[in-house]
Amino acid sequence: MSFSDSFFAARFGISRRDLENYLSEALSRGGDYADLYFEYIATSSIGIDESIVKSATQGVTLGVGVRVIAGERTGYAYAGDLSPEKIKHAAQVAAMIAAGPAKVESVPLDEGPRRNLYPVLTSPNETSFAERVALVQRADQAARAADSRVFQVQASYADSLRQILIATSDGVISYDRQPMARMSVYVLARAADGVPQQGHSGGGGRYELEWFRTERTPEYFAKEAVRQAIVQLGAVDAPAGENVVVLGPGWPGVLLHEAVGHGLEADFNRKGVSAFSGRIGQLVASPLCTVIDDGTLGGSALGGRRGSINVDDEGNLTQRNVLIENGILQGYLQDKLSSRVTGAAATGSGRRESYEHIPMPRMTNTFMLAGESDPEEIIRSVPRGLYCASFAGGQVDITSGNFVFSASESYLIEDGKLTRPVKNATLIGNGPEALKYISMVGNDLKLDEGIGICGKEGQSVPVGVGIPTVRIDKMTVGGTA
């Protein structure tokens, strides 16, 4: 495929000449760099509640964002349609960040390198709606059939197809087609004493709809949500204070996202306000830890992972970035502005929520490489502690480095065995310190099911996480017991 066959050229008649003209307009007051970001998103969503399909929505948004960089300054404007007058106006508004005569007269554009990590032939949102409605109905039935204590089931399905086109004054045109689909199931179950507990499960990625019929079915997610709710029915109060904590494989990788990932985003480090600022080359984790952010992970024959993208939202190819190697901090995640200012090489980490947003350095799929320990041996090594199988999310204060994450399924470890389930509790630690207490790393690296959303400064982007079983010798658990 070449640019003339790409989505924006074919559907909206956007030509190379148009892009060059808009970029020249954006640079007309002397900016050093400019880019255009065209975006078209078609979405659909379906929700079932009380076995009634109560909602079905579809829609489209279209727009273009224009950015101008002058030194460390950024000017940004956007237009909600593709009329040349609106785009030119946005370019003129963004150009105001600079003041002076144009330094760059014309911008000849060439296509950047291309690849396809998610060769999805039919995007889920191009399939029949009835097929997608059937997925939430199956989830509802499976959850209700799984256990008689289940009394509420909600299931949702959502997909999107995002078409983007990026043209930069570096002279590069990039474009990508980014399909996405996910399902989630939420249940409430009631014990004999009448107190309800919730369970939640879900997953997805940049896959064909077939993925939900063969690899992760509605029944799979339904049973997992029910299992979590039922486990909670017997939960006891979580301990309060410092404990040995063992994280199970997969979704608990959210620890890495919060404890180190955000703190390694280059914008914070360029400003010197991250707890990791100026620490490259230093030991920030146990030597057992190697942490990667990789936007290129494939998923299966049916598509790619949720956190993966072919090109980032600034037109750079994504790549595998080593953040921490054997405990030593290696580098930061860059966006174009940070790369320009600090001279660091691009890492393919510039992402944005939509055309209305300025790109920032963001994570993609963040995970720790497997170690050598047998996961069962890790649990056996703990006389008394907490085992966390799943989390509901987390948050970090990147300046102090303090982070939290909320356990949604955890168990007491007593004499090397998992015993009673405990109630949800928040775990808290400090980024540059917490990973130093990792004393065992399992051989069982697992990635999450594909449901992560990362929020930063009001912008949400899809991400993935992963981790093998790890033992952390000291972490504060926020229970009441």
Partner: protein, 454 residues
């Protein structure tokens, strides 16, 4: 912008979309349009760093065919875009399930409260960019000048917004209103040795004149950041906890989730089935009021075209009302409280107006003075609140209270309890209620919580 003729034009688009939906077989329809423009400027270390200015608009439609529902939205308000939107919603309605409780509000419930709510101010739209940037610059400069330990900054920023909202339905409702806001924020970083601490302060108003002056915003942000330096992790203990107003608001956010109709009819709230029962200390009175002029939770009608109103949620500790839209009211056999809320499309969810806790009599200083050992919380992080069970566990930072005085900063700890015990164990409610944003609370003291640290 939001001129009268532009609003009229948008209302016409909404009414036209509804007519088209009815012609295509819908038995009822409702259409929301939103239009707005935003401005933001960030100044860091004295230099303008980011300047953003743009406008956008969008439309959403929800149709009913008998008891089935379909929805759609578009950013394309041309006749062709609207036609596609109508066709998409009608197509989807055929695929959903009949729901006996679905439907628009009764015609008698529709309307708009009279009078000017003072949501719109001309000066926000007219203020020159240079003046907005200058305010951001002054706020940051005041923070940097406050103390030599303020060495870095994430900047001073000014944001403003002008937005219009249009809603019409097939039962004859058609309404529009415009609103403005602006805000000024400073985010300084204090450092001491290797350790850094960040904090912020902001002011938010419907008009420029209502903002705190930039020097005050900067100074308060800096005071807060410096106060956090040298924080320690305390030993695990049980003690009284004070939530400063900024933090107390998050507790109201948790309570909102527990009293909104959707979680009630699903029995997904620890307050489901408790109407009329005493669930909190008798000094606890929680109000929702969407009718207060000039405030951030006010609007003339909710997102289903029902007038907003004042609803006491908890009165002297007794749970009096849930917050409902039309659907959840019908599920519960009640009447809507005018709390429907939605983006531009889909079924209406539930939102709140000005959701606030009535003030008590003691000043925050008096509350602190009465505590021998306790924790004054100035920051909470994480999402560890389960409103189904009431279990509460969040990451916290703040200042330790010793012998009635703020003694030393604390961080990397958690506070835990249950919402039930916290509501019943209210120690004091402060006299310092101030309306900031749409959720407002005075200082709150909880008699005892578990603080987990070393």
């Amino acid at each position: 912008m939001s001129s009268r003729s532009e609003l009229d034009n948008l209302q016409e688009i909404a009414r036209d979309a509804i007519q088209q939906a009815l012609s295509a077989g819908a038995t009822d329809a409702e259409c929301t349009l939103a239009e707005g423009s935003e401005f933001s400027a960030n100044v860091r270390m004295g230099e303008l760093e980011t300047l953003k200015e743009a406008g956008s608009r969008g439309a959403g439609l929800r149709v009913l065919i008998g008891k089935k529902t379909g929805s759609s939205y578009t950013s394309d308000l041309t006749p062709e875009g609207v036609r596609h939107m109508v066709a998409a919603a009608v197509e989807l309605a055929a695929l959903t399930t009949e729901d006996p409780h679905v439907g628009l509000p009764d015609a008698s419930e529709l309307g708009s409260i009279p009078g000017d709510l003072r949501l719109f101010s001309e000066d926000v739209a007219k203020l020159p960019a240079a003046q907005k940037i200058d305010a951001a610059r002054r706020a940051e400069a005041a923070a940097l000048a406050y103390d030599p330990r303020i060495t870095k900054s994430e900047g001073g920023s000014f944001e403003s917004s002008t937005a219009s909202r249009i809603f019409a339905n097939s039962r004859g409702f058609s309404g529009a209103y415009a609103a403005t806001w602006c805000s000024l924020t400073a985010v300084p970083v204090a450092s001491q040795g290797e350790a850094m601490e960040r904090d912020y302060w902001y002011s938010l108003a419907r008009d420029f004149a209502g903002l705190e002056d930039p020097e005050s915003v900067g100074r308060r942000a800096a005071e807060r950041a410096v106060r956090r330096l040298g924080a320690v992790k305390v030993e695990t203990t049980k003690a009284p906890v004070i939530f400063e107003p900024r933090i107390a608001r998050s507790l109201l956010g948790n309570l909102f989730e527990a009293v909104e109709g959707k979680s009630i009819y699903r029995e997904a709230s620890f307050l489901a089935g408790k109407l009329g029962e005493k669930i909190a200390d008798e000094r606890f009175t929680l109000i929702d009021d969407g009718t207060l002029p000039g405030l951030f939770g006010s609007q003339p009608f909710d997102d289903e075209g029902v007038p907003t109103r004042r609803t006491p949620v908890i009165e002297k500790g007794v749970l009096k009302n849930y917050l409902l839209n039309t659907y959840t009211a019908r599920k519960l056999g009640m009447k809507t409280t005018g709390n429907a809320s939605r983006g531009i499309t889909g079924n209406a969810g539930i939102g709140h107006g000005n959701f606030y806790l009535e003030p008590g009599t003691k000043s925050p200083e008096e509350m602190i003075a009465g505590i021998k050992d306790g924790f004054y919380v100035t920051e909470l992080i994480g999402s560890g609140v389960n409103t189904v069970t009431g279990d509460y566990s969040r990451g916290a930072a703040g200042v330790w209270i010793r012998n009635g005085e703020l003694a030393f900063p604390v961080s990397e700890v958690t506070i835990a309890s249950t919402l039930q015990e916290m509501l019943n164990g209210i120690g004091e409610i402060g006299n310092d209620l101030e309306f900031r944003g749409s959720t407002s609370a005075p200082t709150i003291m909880i008699g005892e919580m578990t603080i987990a640290g070393r």
